[in-house]
Amino acid sequence: MAEGERKTALEMVQAAGTDRHCVTFVLHEEDHTLGNSLRYMIMKNPEVEFCGYTTTHPSESKINLRIQTRGALPAVEPFQRGLNELMNVCQHVLDKFEASIKEYKDQKASRNESTF
């Protein structure tokens, strides 16, 4: 079903010896839907040196998303920013879509009226 039974949906894995600027996030119950769109938003951030994601195995429903930042910026920051920006994009798409649907329906209604 939709919700997983695990309590943790998000894990952070860091290689020993590196500081917080390169981190691999493990997102459970996710696939290319969120992975690819999030990767795109994070790559658009000029502070990010590397961002990529993989599905570990088709039988397992999780993705590994790795972020490396240039400089000393902690990797959590572009991750959070990418999520926020993706939400803003979705909100804007939703607003524009609803406006467009409403306009289409109004146009059709006025066209129907004018024929009678």
Binding site: M1, T33, L83, H92
Partner: protein
């Protein structure tokens, strides 16, 4: 000058060559092109982005999304197919099935029937809950018995005349309200979407008597929960004539593309080809089979112009489905933002 044009083409067009496709991947990330500022800018995105609805009726929707990247457009498509919830038959309690269709085949067919119930008014069933409550379950009863028709003609061989109730359709499914569902849902609103889907065929003496439980689910779990017949997108075609095409070649060119794409006009006595409506083309690439013409045309697609086509099974109108899909993606982002906040709290 030519270099700048080539860079523009690389950034904005996916080019279909004779033997392959070029410039497929998105490359406009910060630092890839000198002289371009590709960092994410919400204002620039909002200025460039637009949605145009081309066609909308009760079951299908065609709309254009311009100014967005493939990753996000594909996310919407994937969510429409697999993560927008619907109600469908999950458990079938068979009291009597003497028909020729096996129990499990019958149950599988019943699961695939689209149920006209707004899934937003229901909740997911809890794991391990066998009975189901009124907030997460819908019950349907199917009870059909086939008998011989006593008034049929002696020598008739038409099953419609000889037998009564020999075809079991979805219109024989009756809704059994649970708890307060009878007050919440007026008579006739909870039903299968189509009442003429053939479920099974019977002969005299055979009977089907069963009870169905519908639950809320998503397409990722089982395809019966998918709310769309299909949802797909294509990129807007972009056909450019590299040289003027005249005379007989113009006629040949117009035959290489779908009808309406290339228009042949009479200009000063000569026939000249002009690209009239590239949107109609299905890119059969017939032009590459013609030695003369293949050098005169460039086939490409506009990278950020998506023509979406959503066909609903009837559970929800297609514009509601797109709206729900966008909300699902927002829900996913919010879930991880909340997780991050929770982690940072400790």
């Amino acid at each position: 000058m030519a270099a700048a044009q080539a860079v523009q083409e690389m950034r904005t067009r996916v080019v279909l060559g004779e033997f392959g496709v070029r410039n497929v991947h998105t490359t406009d990330f910060p630092g890839n092109y000198s002289g371009y500022d590709d960092a994410w800018d919400q204002d620039r995105f909002e200025k460039n982005f637009r949605v145009d609805v081309v066609h909308l009726d009760e079951n299908s929707l065609e709309f254009d999304m311009v100014g967005i990247d493939a990753a996000i457009a594909n996310a919407f498509r994937r969510i429409l197919l697999a993560e927008v919830p619907t109600m469908a038959v999950e458990k079938v309690l068979v009291y009597n099935n003497t028909s020729i269709v096996q129990d499990e085949i019958l149950a599988h067919r019943l699961g695939l029937i689209p149920i006209h119930a707004d899934p937003r008014l229901f909740e997911y069933r809890n794991q391990g809950d066998e009975e189901g409550t009124e907030i997460d379950t819908l019950q349907f009863r199917l009870q059909v018995r086939c008998t011989r028709n006593p008034h049929a003609a002696k020598d008739s061989s038409d099953p419609n005349e000889l037998y009564v109730n020999h075809k079991v359709y979805t219109r024989h499914m009756t809704w059994v309200p649970l708890g307060n569902q009878a007050d919440l849902f007026p008579e006739g609103t909870i039903r299968p979407v189509h009442d003429d889907i053939l479920i099974a065929q019977l002969r005299p003496g055979q009977e089907i008597d069963l009870l169905m439980h519908c639950v809320k689910g998503i397409g990722k779990d089982h395809a019966k929960f998918s709310p769309v017949a299909t949802a797909s997108y294509r990129l807007l075609p972009d056909i450019t004539l590299l040289e003027p095409v005249e005379g007989e070649a113009a006629e040949e060119l117009s035959r290489c593309f779908s009808p309406g794409v290339i228009e042949v006009q009479e200009v000063q006595g000569k026939k000249v080809a002009r690209v009239a409506n590239p949107r109609l083309d299905t890119f059969s690439r017939e032009v590459f089979r013609n030695e003369k013409l293949k050098k005169l045309v460039r086939l490409a697609r506009v990278r950020d112009h998506y023509i979406f086509s959503v066909e609903s099974t009837g559970v929800l109108p297609p514009d509601v489905l797109v709206r729900e899909a966008i909300k699902v993606l927002m829900g996913k982002c919010r879930r991880f933002l909340d997780e991050l906040d929770a982690v940072q709290m400790d």
